[in-house]
Amino acid sequence: MIIEMARVRLFGPRAALAPTIRALQDVGVVHLVDTPPRAGFEPYPADALERRRQKHLAHALDNVEAAISGLATLDAPIADRGGAMASEGKAAWRAARIAAEVAALAARERALVDERDALRAYEPLFADLEDVLAVKRTSIYLLRLHAATGIAALRGALEKAIGADHELRAHELANRDTVVLLLVPSARSDDIERYLATARVERAVLPAGLGTMPLGEALGRMRPRLREVERALVVLRDEARAIARRSGGELAAARHGFHDALDAMAAETHATVSRRVFSLEGWIPARDRGRLAGALAREVTVEDVARDEWHGEDAPVVLANPELFAPFEVLTSLLPLPRYGSVDPTPFVAVFFPMLFGVVVGDIGYGLAILAIALVTRRRAPKLAKIAVAVAVYTIAFGVLYGELFGDLGARLLGMHPLWFDRQEAVLAFLVLAIALGAVHLLLGLVVAAINRWRRDRREAIGRGLTAFLLVLIAISLLALFEQLPAVFVMPAVIAMLATFAVIVILEGLTALFDLMAILGHVLSYARVMALGMASVMLAVVANRMHGAFGSLALGIAFALVFHVVNFAITLFSPTIHVMRLHYVEFFGTFFEPGGGAYHPLRHWSPRATAT
């Protein structure tokens, strides 16, 4: 449901504006809006001093955020603790110092990581280096080929250029390049230099720090340097953790403090002021009205803005549903918020979404599988898990009514019988059930719309009510025509239908005809419940028949299991989409009014508030 909001206006001495805003942050329930202009009041003017302070705070906050994110990248995250911030000036100065310290560490870390990665790329060479470097009077070349196939060509070209008087040792690197150690007698080094220059063979670039050394020396230094770099990285991260331990609380407190101070300054711009008085306006949940008055200083007055001074559509929307329904806000939140004063569809979704899903899937085995998924995911996604439990309960319940356990497996192995009807046989009964559910669902939507709009727009409310009545009359006529009700009902129902339709056309014009056709189309759209249900059960039945279709029992059972898994995956996806669509398009179309604004009360900053 949408909770009742009140619009309040606060008056107080101009000097009390800043303390009042701090008090509002403490209470955390007022969604401030721009205060409308009134005689003698002007928008709150921020002076040059305040603008400078705002700039200074924003810069300090940037430093705090940079330090916190820098520490996080150095594996030294800080816990989000509140606590009192030092004075703004001192906290800003400390933040700048810590940010600079962390930035220097981060820069060193980046350089070390780059060097470590470059050295690690050459790790496949390390095993070869010791004996290569031990050979005297040998020139060593380190070459890089971008394709392993180039080695054969290089080998052939070297044979031609200097004969067999050389040795090639190729190693594939992690990036798929090939690095080649070429060993030649020192006496042939001029020939090799000439060949490499003319053939444009790429020399491998050594990691920074080793590039200036002679190659032989650099190659020898690679392995020890890698160990040094890895040790340096450990030390550097220890330093970062030490900073996080030493200054983490200070940074967290400063982050909260600076955010709060900036939010408070932004809130001041909603105020209007006279020479001595300030005025602020905002929305609060009506139930928090008393809490607000109690939290403010005595010289600040809180008065309710008269109902005729504001429009319902301006009020922010807060949804508050019982614990059983609240998880289904996940599904309604995919659409825009309902307009204030309209109806929150969450409770209806909580009842009909799992029920329609159950009608479609209706299988004890699949229901138990969904329940298992809900249990596994209950910690990671508690809301979705609760929805899944509701869905599983209905799926199992309708599975019992249809007598289905993994399709017809229950009937074949355990002798299960449907308590209501067999979906494989009673196709027409299933279709009638689906359309009847649609009629009831839309009838409910129309009645909700009629009741909700009664105060605002009697004409529209009567139109919705009569459309609902027309739907009932159509159902009665059809039931009588198909001999489910006495035939005597037909004529009165048809006459009442014509009369009702005439009244609707008078009230809403000829467009009522199109509305009526759309609603009838929407009722028929619920036939998808039957279509998907039929498909689901037939796929399960086909899966069960596979064990005899492959000659081998084991192969047949394996295919049957795979088919059931595929059917289960389809079952999770397709009915969810279609049942959601039945709600969003067909059901919501009867009463849902989007356009509600989100409720953002002025409160103390928290990382979660930023994330949302």
């Binding site: 036939a527 998808r528 039957m530 989409i577 959601m580 669509r581």
Partner: protein
């Protein structure tokens, strides 16, 4: 012979609506993909738009079932 025509009628009912649905979904799907690249927040609308033409094939399926039931 009558059974053949009943089966053909049911097949036409489902095939025609399935083709219409797939054509509509192909058009809507490609447009939705382009829109989502620009505005990811339109995902719900996109899913709904893609699901809307399925009414055709659902009704085609229902008509096919009714043809088979009445004819059978």
């Amino acid at each position: 012979m009558e059974a053949l025509w009943i089966s053909v009628a049911a097949a036409v009912a489902i095939a025609g609506t399935a083709l219409a649905t797939s054509w509509a979904q192909a058009r809507i799907g490609s447009s939705a993909a382009a829109a989502l690249a620009e505005k990811p927040e339109l995902r719900t609308t996109a899913v709904l738009m893609i699901a809307i033409p399925e009414t055709m094939v659902v009704l085609g399926f229902v008509i096919a079932v009714l043809i088979l039931l009445r004819g059978g």
